[in-house]
């Protein structure tokens, strides 16, 4: 898959992660008291919840870092459109010349084969 598509996919994944984690926070967050803000859950549940929130935060940060690394690896931004078209024209001309060279080389190879066959019949 090309890099731009990977980048777009990762961006969509980041958006999905945002929505998912907000939903998880809203659904699974432990209850707390209205009076002094103390959490009403036991320590085990709280520790599990803190681990879960850390993992979610880590996932958001990792996705964001991955997007940055893909952005850094995007190639060819040093050329503008005109440079690209000039390069394509040069490559096209070179390709045409090489095609002619290949045709000539094939003819030479054919000549060698026919001369070899002639030598073979003469020797016989």
């Amino acid at each position: 898959m090309d890099l731009l598509t990977q980048l777009q996919d990762k961006l969509d994944h980041l958006f999905l992660v945002f929505g998912t984690f907000i939903g998880v926070l809203q659904r699974d967050a432990p209850a707390s008291s209205f009076e002094n803000g103390l959490l009403l859950q036991d320590n085990e549940t709280l520790s599990k919840w803190s681990t879960q929130t850390k993992e979610m935060a880590l996932q958001v940060i990792e996705t964001s870092k991955l997007i940055e690394s893909i952005i850094d690896s995007l190639p060819g931004f040093n050329r503008n459109e005109e440079d690209q078209y000039n390069r394509l024209r040069a490559l096209n001309d070179e390709s045409i010349q090489l095609n002619q060279t290949i045709e000539q080389t094939k003819k030479d190879a054919g000549n060698v084969i026919t001369s070899q066959r002639r030598y073979k019949t003469d020797i016989k």
Partner: protein, 337 residues
Amino acid sequence: MAQNENITISAFPPPPPFYKLYLNYQAPSSTSSTPPHPSVAAQNAKNDDAKFSVPAPPTRSPSSLSVSPQLNSAQATTTSPTTTTTTTTTSSSSIQLQPLLPPLPPKKGSTFQMFGQHYSTTDVLPSLTEMGVEQLYPNGDIDPIKELKRLNRSIVFNYLQLLETLVENPSEYKTKVDDISLLFVNFHHLLNSYRPHQARETLISIMTEQIKQKRESITKINNTINSCKEILKKTLQTVNTEEIAKLKQHVKQLQEIQYIGSTTEQSIIQSPSTTPLLAQTSPITTTTTTTTTTTTNATIISSSTSTTTTTTTSNNNNNNDQWINDYLQKLSLISKN
């Protein structure tokens, strides 16, 4: 199906118009339930297909068909009960289509229809302002990598702000969600605007790789040709030198044999026993080819007889001469080539 302006709305495209050319086609009439006569069907087809006037398929009889592909030609066609007819229109705007050939591609700048949707041949990405969205990055020449990174960090920062808003003032979540959406739209639009650039870069890399492969194949073929030529030269040289050496040896031996034969003739005429000279020839004969061995054997045999010796040796000598001449001719051909 809507019948206004001949536009049909369907998930599937309509069939190409030249299906009406084929045998036993009868166009359905909207006014009558019975199918019309083929000549009427042809006329309907002519009226319907003003843009496409097609020549007849090759399976029909020439007398009943008009097969001229030229524009502005009108030929009357005869009808038969089993065949439908085609006519070429005189309209200067008619497009001639051979059956089963694909239609011409649309001109640059025009639109075409595919599965009910209209598409343009010029594929231009509309700008964000045209789509009614605020553009967060500047126009003109920009550093795309820098802008993309900036947008990425803004997205994460706005997400944190959204979380804080949800904690402190949950009713005002919408503005932050819209900000995050705007950032994502800008990010995607910036990536989409670099698709043509990516396509050109991909083409450049593909062409570079093709050129590299062509160069490699040229060098391989040239190396193979050179090695073949060297091998051929070596083999020809060895063959020629060996053949020439053999020929020379044969010629010497045959000359000796001829000399011996001539001496034996004389000796036979004088006396029947001529062993010493023949004894000398025997070691040579063992190393020669079978023909020379047979001739020398013939000469040895001839030495023991009295009357048939001379004729046998003379015939063998004539054969040897002819063989030598043939061999010399072959060798000259080889050396010329």
